[in-house]
């Protein structure tokens, strides 16, 4: 009971501290430049110049502390040796370029970037389109969303179970092998067969991310003006044509946001690979390679170098988003 009280107290203090900042800082600003009295106009203009920064301040501090600062530390570390003590120039990068595992990771990562966002968005879209049209849609949504609620590690375990292999003579407990055997195949050690094993790992992430895509896309689909769909019905379009030619093009923007978000998840995801193959049998990806060097190799220099490569891979998305932001502001 006491613990419960302490916990709620900490929660209340934490959240209210945050609210209090915004409230009090605004109050302070308003009392320095009161929006009343003879100078009201000038004061409000002045306060108006400051206020955005007041709103942004906590976010900026957090972003700087938790993302920008470590980013610079990483850049610094990537030019230093394993312990971060001595400067080694671009050694870490030259090592990286010659490392077989790195090349393998790059190749795999590109594959992941091609497959996972596309497949997740695709299935998410299908799921959104289907579930919006039926009575038990909400239930179906919840079921498809469920993998989102499972941790990556948990998901990896579930799927490892599916890909499980027991060898001939023993009963297969993995669904995939059971199906495979039922279809007349001999059991396979799925996770060790290159290159299909990489795809089996991707399936896991697709399975998880589809729920995310579905939730967001379903909101977007509902925002499509009904008349355009009716017009297409009158034009004689089949339901499939309506979906592909009328609905999907109209939610392109949302699809892009979903795609971006999943792409970023893909770049960062390492838990699944770590738990399922640890990058062996040719399934290594950058994030796991980094994790490897960080916590197994205890080499912050190399880990940072890999991390910066990951960040580099997102540049196209950044550029695209900057363009969008510019366009919006006219």
């Amino acid at each position: 009971m006491e613990q419960l009280f302490m916990a709620s107290a900490t929660i209340v203090i934490g959240v209210f501290g945050c609210v209090a900042y915004f409230f009090l800082s605004n109050l302070a600003l308003d009392s320095i430049y009161p929006p009343r009295g003879p100078d009201a106009g000038r004061n409000i203009t002045r306060a108006g110049a400051i206020r955005p920064w007041l709103f942004l301040l906590p976010a900026l501090i957090l972003l700087c502390a938790y993302l920008v600062y470590p980013l610079f530390v990483s850049i610094w570390l990537s030019f230093h040796d394993a312990t971060g003590d001595s400067f080694v120039g671009t050694d870490n990068y030259t090592w990286l370029l010659n490392d077989l595992k790195f090349r393998e990771s790059m190749k795999n990562n590109l594959l992941w970037l091609l497959v996972v966002p596309a497949a997740s968005t695709f299935f998410g879209l299908i799921a959104a389109a289907l579930t919006d049209r039926i009575g038990w849609g909400n239930f179906a949504k919840a079921m498809i969303f469920m993998p989102m609620a499972i941790s990556f590690v948990g998901a990896a375990v579930i799927w490892k179970f599916i890909y499980d292999y027991r060898g001939d003579g023993q009963t297969e407990v993995g669904v995939l092998n059971a199906i495979w055997v039922a279809l007349g195949g001999t059991p396979q050690t799925w996770l060790t067969i290159e290159p299909s094993n990489s795809f089996l790992l991707m399936v896991v992430l697709v399975w998880i991310q589809t729920g995310f895509a579905m939730v967001i896309l379903s909101a977007a689909l509902r925002g499509i003006p009904e008349e355009t769909i009716e017009a297409a019905v009158l034009d004689g379009a089949s339901p499939l044509q309506i979906f592909t030619k009328i609905k999907v093009p109209q939610i392109w923007g949302t699809i892009a946001v979903v795609w971006t978000t999943i792409t970023i998840t893909v770049l960062k995801v390492f838990d699944i690979v770590l738990a399922m193959t640890n990058g062996q049998w040719g399934t290594q990806v950058l994030a796991n390679l980094m994790f490897d060097w960080m916590f197994r190799g205890n080499d912050t220099g190399r880990a940072s170098a890999v991390a910066l490569i990951i960040m580099l891979m997102v540049t196209p998305i950044m550029v695209w988003n900057i363009r969008n932001a510019r366009k919006e502001m006219r």
Partner: protein, 430 residues
Amino acid sequence: QDLKFAPGEDARFNWASFDSFKANHDLKGQTLKIDGPWGGVDKALFETVIAYFEAATGADVDYSGGDGFEQRVMIDVEAGSPPGIAVIPQPGLAADLAKRGKLTPLKPEIGTFLQENYAAGQSWVDLSTYPGADGTKALYGLFYKVDVKSLVWYSPENFEDAGYEVPQTMEDLKALSEQIVADGGTPWCIGLGSGGATGWPATDWVEDMMLRVNTPQDYDAWVSNDLKFDDPKVVAAIEEFGAFARNDAWVAGGAGGVASTDFRDAPKGLFASPPTCYMHRQASFIPSFFPEGTVVGEDADFFYFPAYAGKELGQPVLGAGTVFVVTQDSPAAQAFIDFLTTPIAHEIWMAQSGFLTPNKAVNTEVYGDPTLKKMGDILLNATTFRFDGSDLMPGAIGAGAFWTGMVDYSGGKDAAAVASDIQKTWDTLK
């Protein structure tokens, strides 16, 4: 709190050492944080030991541990909030920390103690002596709780049913394997799967084989990379492992299944009906993964993974253990290390389960069960004791390239090629 065994009661225990430790230490009000890899059962067991330390000194010890320890301790130490004492399963990691100047050297008396009391004392001293930040070597750690790895598990009754004898030499072992195949059975269960750590069981095999085809000196040179990984001697050891693992007739599920079978599931074949295999080489901890209700000593037993009679390399034993290092110096930390030199600190855990010690000063009668005692005997009878090589190598090798290499090897890649890949990675570490 409660002490598991009331001091002074059971005469098998060395209560005198407890009393004298108690008399010499008073740390009332001090606290000590210990972080280590043990969670679950081991954590509870270790806490019974801690209780005696607390009772003796009045200090407050907070042990927190469990999975992810290696990452945690690295981060904590690097970030400047280390525990007082860290319990490290990989001497390689301890050496790394020492080199970064994050460890406090132990008192020289500890070295003397080890040499005098531990079986193969010098080798334990060597295992915990590392160069510090300034390059000078010092003793940084004290080994406490070790595992024996050179064990082969089997079901005595299955052996009886089939009329097999426990082999005493490697030659016999191979002959027995042939025999089992001839009888229509499969001799071995091998599983290398371990999630993110897949491959490590193979490194144990290779290390055991290193000790059985090469000299201990070669082994030491290999661990320090003075003997290159792609040296024919090493390749030969790998191929020795291959003789077992890559032989479709010898492993349950065929060679293809070795790498993907989870090491926790592998021993279950021993107990299947009919058994899918007869033998399983694995360290002393494996009974936790036997089917529920399996009684060690009755349903399952082990024998020493024998050496070649023809090679005259004696009875090498591969082992592992946890080393206690001081990550944040304090009187309490020093006192705790002192406490671990007392026989009673070992006996408390010995008397329960899952604990072996190379400490000769303890009363082996205290061992909680006969199996433990039998393992303890293997340890004490060893002519050569070597620590798990992969734990001594740099993390990038011992917990990286070596694992991956072994997975590749069991998947059919050429031993020399695998070895040379590993050596290449090692080269980049310099």
